[in-house]
């Protein structure tokens, strides 16, 4: 680290951005343009998001104290971020005291190296994996593969994605873009020894996966997982899941390696009482997910006898140094915001180009990996990938004000890129959702008022087309309908095409170089 000059009130350095799967190859409008042509994707997504949305509303409506739980969840996360150094040290102390080993990783590259080294030390050449956003983010599977280590995903959806050499498209149901026929084909082609008469009934497909994976669970000596929560006070780690593959991975192997983003720490064991209510209800619309595992270090005679915890920065401290970014770190990855988002519903997860899709991805990805318009960074298009309708804010269990954060990011992006208000207006018009008419129709009156008022009243100088919004606060059009209708119309398609053409002409995007600085 660079030396601090004595006697000078030096400004601390900004942390470098993260590495890994945090940036697509193309800007959002161009990528979305192709995804929009995928009827299968749109049909599946529409059905899925509608179903989960309805279930979520039922089970959250059941709790008279839902808003109080959200307040508590939000406050606990804010408190966590404010006390992160001491909480991380406390977590490390308690995991170590219970027989675990804690490792720290500055970025994805380093985390991959640590995990690979730990696996090599066991002598094993394969690992079983519990679905984990963090390892997806750092591209762990690819790294291990390059070293000759096979990583088997064990979550059914992740397995489908992996066997299809595909990418996840949803935080919670990563294979939502596939239908049963496609899945059957994938299994027939990729699972060795699968019954050729396998049909497309989901129960039968799941049974085929069970047989295939059971052998892996029983024979593999090392498992890699993520963590939903890490409790500083006790050193307890937790994984929330449905299928039991998590329990298998966390219990049967001799060695367990858990990769956890530093923002996942929670201060007290008691805080679980809040998040165990918020997470399942927001995520799958269930009162509780079928299985949650909690473990503290190593327990003799029960479960893995070697436990490693890898604490991952990878851009999180860069996000933490920003008021906006810090709020995005409160995310508990429930996916509620994806399921209510009219833009996500149309484009699916791949258009976002990052491990983190949907509304939260549009905020979190530029925060973790940066956005630089001058270098035509695809991430700089993400803050525009929203209709700002406010549904994500209403849905978020930890009350992350995503629409305001997106507006702030747009603001930062224009400032940094030196774009004039006029250029922004043009850009907005070329973007997917940004026609004034569309906005007018897509805004919920309440959300609109809030966005216009701005976070801390800071956005009084919105350029056109935004400046015209206030006149349309009483627009009676049902927001999502009109918006979708527009996107499906010839005019919408033409706008999308124009946007796509413009960005294709823009040439190959270059990666943000800033991440190299700290190496």
């Amino acid at each position: 680290m660079s030396a601090t000059f004595l006697g000078m009130p030096a400004t601390p350095p900004r942390s470098p951005y993260g590495t890994g799967n945090l940036r697509g190859d193309r800007k959002f409008p161009a990528a979305a343009h192709d995804e929009l042509r995928n009827e299968q994707l749109r049909g599946n997504l529409g059905r899925a998001t509608r179903t989960i949305r309805a279930k979520r509303l039922t089970v959250t409506g059941e709790l008279p104290d839902w808003e109080e739980l959200r307040d508590a969840g939000s406050a606990i996360k804010t408190d966590t971020m404010n006390r992160l150094p001491e909480l991380l040290e406390e977590l490390e102390r308690n995991v170590t005291a219970r027989g675990g080993t804690v490792h720290w990783a500055r970025d994805g590259v380093e985390a991959n190296e640590i995990v690979a080294r730990l696996i090599k030390e066991t002598g094993s050449e394969e690992v079983i994996k519990v679905k984990s956003m963090a390892t997806q983010e750092i591209g762990l599977n690819e790294h291990l593969e390059s070293l000759g280590i096979t990583a088997h995903e064990t979550d059914l959806a992740e397995l489908i994605v992996q066997l299809a050499h595909d990418k996840p498209s949803h935080i919670l149901v990563p294979a939502i873009h596939r239908n049963r026929d496609e899945i059957r084909q994938i299994f027939l082609k990729e699972i060795p020894g699968v019954d050729p008469s396998l049909d497309n009934v989901p129960a039968h497909l799941a049974a085929a996966a069970r047989v295939y994976l059971r052998e892996k669970f029983m024979t593999t000596e090392v498992a890699v997982s993520g963590a939903n929560f890490g409790i500083a006070e006790t050193g307890t780690l937790s994984v929330v899941e449905s299928e039991g593959n998590g329990r298998m991975c966390l219990t049967l192997p001799d060695t367990l390696i858990t990769v956890m983003g530093i923002e996942k720490v929670l201060p007290r064991y008691q805080d679980l009482e809040v998040f165990l209510q918020l997470l399942p209800r927001s995520s799958t619309g269930e009162r509780m997910n079928p299985y949650t595992s909690m473990w503290t270090g190593v327990t003799p005679g029960d479960g893995p006898q070697t436990f490693h915890l890898v604490l991952l920065d990878n851009g999180r401290t860069a996000a933490l140094a920003d008021r906006i970014g810090r709020e995005a770190l409160n995310c508990i990855r429930c996916s509620a915001c994806l399921n209510v988002c009219p833009v996500y519903e149309r484009t699916g997860g791949h258009a976002y180009g990052s491990t983190y899709p949907g509304p939260i991805g549009a905020v979190l990805t530029p925060q973790l990996a940066g956005m630089d318009a001058a270098r035509d960074d695809p991430n700089s298009s993400l803050p525009y990938a929203s209709s700002l309708c406010g549904a994500c804010f209403d849905a978020c269990p930890v009350k992350i004000d995503i629409p305001s954060l997106l507006v702030e990011l747009r603001h930062q992006h224009t400032e940094r890129s030196g774009t004039t208000a006029e250029k922004l207006a043009m850009k907005a018009a070329a973007g997917v959702m940004s026609r004034p008419k569309v906005y007018t129709a897509a805004q919920k009156a309440s959300g609109l008022g809030r966005v216009l008022a701005g976070r801390d009243g800071k956005f009084s100088h919105l350029p056109p087309p935004f400046s015209g919004w206030s006149e349309s606060r009483d627009t009676p059009a049902p927001p999502e309908q009109t918006f979708r209708a527009w996107l499906a119309s010839a005019e919408g398609a033409a706008t999308m095409r124009a946007a796509a053409d413009e960005h294709t002409r823009g040439g190959q995007p270059t990666r943000d170089q800033q991440q190299e600085e700290d190496k």
Partner: protein
């Protein structure tokens, strides 16, 4: 050379210096805690939630435990049954099949040969239909209640709390804890729910109403 640990912690401190925290307001905990309900209502709520997850529910008085367990096992066609070392042996006294006592030195994969397992439980939560196992001697190691396809879990109604906060408060953090809400399930294929992927495909809950 600076270690990654020092670098990351240093970056976190720098970040907090760059964008200082607002005043640390205390966490508001205005949500419901400390709830109680009479036995009958707690039982009704818990039973309803369990049934919602497609668990099989068998309320009984404590003196009928062995009988009910034997009935459930017969119904499921389960003969070879695993039990944790600390389980009350009388609970399996009415079962005609084989009973194998688990121990840490039995390799976990061999648990696959069991038709089912019977365990006790530590705590439950009625509102969510969740059973907590904490590795106590009558619940055994985690693999035991995971690998076999049938899990018969005995719950004493006195250990059933109303809500999540009340249940979490009864846990011992250092113990390996498993929360079970119904049998293993997936909705990964076109969101169609399928019971049973990797954990036990059948969960039967014997609730002892006077224990």
């Amino acid at each position: 050379m600076t270690t990654a640990r020092e670098t990351v912690l240093g970056r976190v401190r720098d970040a907090l210096a760059l964008a200082p925290a607002a005043d640390g307001a205390p966490v508001p905990r205005a949500y419901r805690t400390g709830r109680t309900l009479p036995d009958e209502e707690r039982l009704a709520l818990f039973t309803d939630r369990l049934a919602d997850y497609k668990a099989r529910v068998h309320p009984c008085t404590a003196d009928r435990t062995a009988e009910v367990i034997a009935e459930v096992l017969r119904e499921q066609g389960a003969e070879r049954i695993g039990v944790p070392a600390g389980l009350d042996p009388r609970w399996l006294s009415a079962h005609d099949g084989e009973v194998r006592q688990d121990s840490a030195d039995i390799p976990a994969p061999s648990l696959d040969a069991l038709d089912g397992v019977v365990t006790a439980s530590a705590v439950s939560c009625a509102e969510t239909g969740t059973i907590f196992l904490d590795g106590s001697p009558d619940q055994g190691r985690r693999a035991l209640s995971l690998v076999p396809d049938l899990h018969v879990c005995v719950v004493d109604l006195s250990t059933v709390e109303v809500g999540v906060p009340e249940a979490v408060a009864r846990l011992v953090p250092e113990r390996p804890t498993t929360l079970i809400s119904g049998p293993s399930a997936t909705s990964d294929i076109e969101l169609e729910r399928v019971e049973g992927v990797h954990g036990p495909r059948t969960l039967a809950v014997v609730i002892r109403t006077d224990a």
